[in-house]
Every structure is written in structure tokens, then in C-alpha cells.
Amino acid sequence: MDDDLLIPDDNEGCTVALEELLAASGLGHEEVIELVQFGVFRCAQHAPVWTFHVHTLSLACRAARLRDDFGLNVSGMALALTYLERIEALEGRLRELESQLPR
């Protein structure tokens, strides 16, 4: 595949099916449903044909890593992901404010 020009997904418009999300992350079906109920994963389309924004894929992989490496249950994953999201939002805000300070 040398010198193949690879075209990435369109992050804004692209969605993945539930099966793909499960296969790519290693999360279980029940876990994904619960994380949707917790409001941590937002689906693009609900049952019967669940789809998710591509962004959810990286969240799901992160959830599975945290589960495996720390032995978290679904509530633990939901809490950790919520905090991480909040930290990232705060870091973004910090960057924004820092760019307004004189150098």
C-alpha cells in the first residue's frame, strides 16, 4: 500500500454502526447502551439502527482502555470519561485565555 493516498473519514458528517463501535473498541453491547443512558455517548440515531458519530469511536476506545487497565465498571467509565471531557474543556479554555495574554 506504499504511496496509496488514504482518505480519512469526514469527522463532521460520518457515523459508525453499533457493530463497528463494538468491534473497534472492545466494549460490550450492554456497556455501550449503558454509556448512552449515562449520556456519555451520544448516538446519531437511536434504536433499532444505532449509529454514532465517528468521535464516539475514540471515546469508546478510551473507555475500554480505562476498563481494562483499572478494572472499572460502567459507572466508573462514565465518571472517568465525564471528568476527562471536563478537563479537556478546561484545558481548551485555559489555552484560549493564555492566547489573550501579552507574551
Partner: protein, 316 residues
């Protein structure tokens, strides 16, 4: 094969109990887990910790590891022939790494490893490459070349590391930290499993003028005191060339001048904004004539910038 001291990786004694190993792992995982820690080298360190824990937390693997004896870290060593026939498939090839051997042991025993036996499809590994783009490249879109190592399965069932290279089309409008996913271009699947995905993580290189925050750009905009007081027609740089702007009279330091749509473009249409952050500057030296004018200004003005700091505070 290079020896790795798994006990040292976890910072425990060789006779540590399973409980002590778990405790040490948890403490280090919290400290170095790449999803939690941001410090340099955390990811590498976590891999080491996790590799050590995979082996030491499993009674059978730990026993096999202990049977290897003691060696210095990085020291070349050869497992006993018995060990090799037990855990290694095929002969003589010593390019494998200790972790691969233990992983294969997981295959052989069906033990508690995250990876399962290869008699049903296993999806390939996701791989990630990072790239640094200039703001101009991010705004226009570009192509980046990459080269990465992916685990691939050889015909004889051994895992080997392959180098792959190629180019990825980066659409316009990417922002700092964005991860672009190329489906199916990660590691090979095993036993008919789907291939993993390739991720390109975008970093924006520091720009001499602009700081990017999402799609918005910030620019430090120095102006002279009289421009601040009287207003002025000035030229402001933007990613697509200079823009003429009228400053209103009475600008203050820190005030933001918003140039709508002059930030980084969005993927489809529209763009972020460019903010000029006003800094009122004085020259390093002011000449006699300027000093005289400032003195005249000081006498003529009744402005009291510290009015609100006068007198005692009410809450003492």
C-alpha cells in the same frame, strides 16, 4: 532475546505477593496511564508497566518468567531449550521480544490475557500516527506522508512487525488535537478478523503570529497610545493576507478586535474568527519633544485611572 526485569518495572521485590503486585500496578497505572497522565514519556512507561503486570499477575506466566532466572535489563539471554519448546513455535528465530513470548503463552494456555486464542476472528490493532501541520496547511488542507510499524501475522503464524508507509489526505479545517480515522488501514486482522483502523492525530505547529484555539485565531495587536485614544486605520495580518481595519477611538489594553470569518476555515463552509488582542505600547525611549507633549497632556487631562483605588476599602 533481550531480558526485561518485570519486577523492577513494577518496583516490587521478586518475592512480592500477588496482592503487592496488583497494588504496585494500580498505583503506577494511575500515575502513567496515557488517558490520565500528560507528562512526557508516560505512554512508554505505561506500556512497560502493563507488560510486566500482564505476566506477573498470571500465576503460570509468572512461574515461567521466574524460571528464566535473573539477568540484567537489556542483557542478551537464551531461554532454556525446554522453555523454548514449551512456549515458542518454530525454531532458532530470536528477533521476538519477551512480551511476544508471553503473549503466545496466552494463546497456548488460553489464560487470562486480553487477547484470545486465534481460532476465531480477531480484529486487527488500531494504530496511530501523529503529524504536525502549520496553520497554513491546516487552513488549506494538505497531504502528509507517514511511516509506521504495525504487527502483522506471517504465514507460519508468528507475529512480526512490518513497516508501512503511505500518504494521508488531510482535509481543510482540521484543528489542534483532531484525530482523523482511516478505516481498515491499521494492523491486520487474525483468522479472518477485520483490519484495525489508522488514526492520524493532528498537532498544529506554533505560529510566529497567530495562536489557534479551535477554529479561532488570536493575534497580539500592538497599537500606539494616540491610536488607542483617537482611533486609526490600521492593517492587520491574517492567514490570507493583510486586512484593513478601523480602530474606534478609546481602545483599551486587552480589548479584543474581532475579525469575523478570518480564522481557520471549517470543514464545509464558514470559518472561525480572528481576534486582535489590543496592547497599548510605548516606545522604549521617548524624545524631548514627546516628553513635552506628554507633560502638556498630563496637565490638560483630568483623567484619574486609580480613582477606584483611593480611600480605605469598606471591608477593611
Amino acid at each position: 532475546m533481550k531480558f526485561k526485569d518485570y519486577y523492577a518495572s513494577l518496583g516490587v521485590e521478586r518475592d512480592a505477593t500477588g496482592e503487592e503486585i496488583k497494588k504496585a500496578y494500580r498505583k503506577l497505572a494511575r500515575q502513567y496511564h496515557p488517558d490520565v497522565a500528560k507528562q512526557e514519556g508516560a505512554e512508554e512507561r505505561f506500556k512497560e508497566i502493563s507488560e510486566a503486570y500482564q505476566t506477573l499477575s498470571d500465576q503460570e506466566k509468572r512461574q515461567a518468567y521466574d524460571d528464566l532466572g535473573r539477568h540484567g535489563p537489556g542483557e542478551e539471554f537464551h531461554p532454556s531449550p525446554e522453555w523454548e519448546t514449551r512456549f515458542s513455535r518454530g525454531g532458532g528465530q530470536q528477533e521476538v521480544d519477551l512480551a511476544d513470548l508471553f503473549e503466545r503463552m496466552g494463546f497456548a494456555t488460553g489464560g487470562g490475557s486480553r487477547r484470545q486464542a486465534a481460532d476465531f476472528p480477531i480484529r486487527g490493532q488500531d494504530v496511530e500516527v501523529a503529524t504536525e501541520l502549520s496553520l497554513e496547511q491546516a487552513a488549506r488542507g494538505t497531504e502528509v506522508s507517514f511511516s509506521l510499524s504495525v504487527p502483522a501475522l506471517r504465514a507460519d503464524g508468528r507475529v512480526e512487525t512490518q513497516t508501512r508507509s503511505g500518504r494521508i489526505r488531510v482535509p481543510r479545517g482540521v484543528v489542534e488535537g483532531e484525530r482523523l480515522r482511516v478505516p481498515g488501514k491499521g494492523g491486520d486482522g487474525i483468522a479472518g478478523g477485520a483490519p484495525g483502523d489508522l488514526y492520524l492525530e493532528v498537532r498544529l505547529a506554533p505560529h510566529p503570529r497567530f495562536k489557534a484555539v479551535g477554529h479561532d485565531l488570536y493575534l497580539e495587536l500592538p497599537i500606539a497610545p494616540w491610536e488607542a485614544a483617537l482611533g486609526a486605520d490600521i492593517t492587520v495580518p491574517s492567514l490570507d493576507g493583510p486586512v484593513a481595519v478601523s480602530l474606534k477611538p478609546g481602545m483599551r489594553s486587552g480589548q479584543k478586535l474581532r475579525l469575523a470569518g478570518k480564522g481557520l476555515p471549517h470543514r464545509r463552509d464558514g470559518a472561525g474568527d480572528l481576534y486582535g488582542v489590543i496592547q497599548i505600547m510605548l516606545p522604549e525611549r521617548i524624545g524631548e519633544r514627546e516628553q513635552a507633549l506628554y507633560r502638556e497632556l498630563a496637565e490638560a487631562s483630568s483623567f484619574s485611572p486609580r480613582h477606584h483605588l483611593e480611600g480605605p476599602t469598606t471591608d477593611g
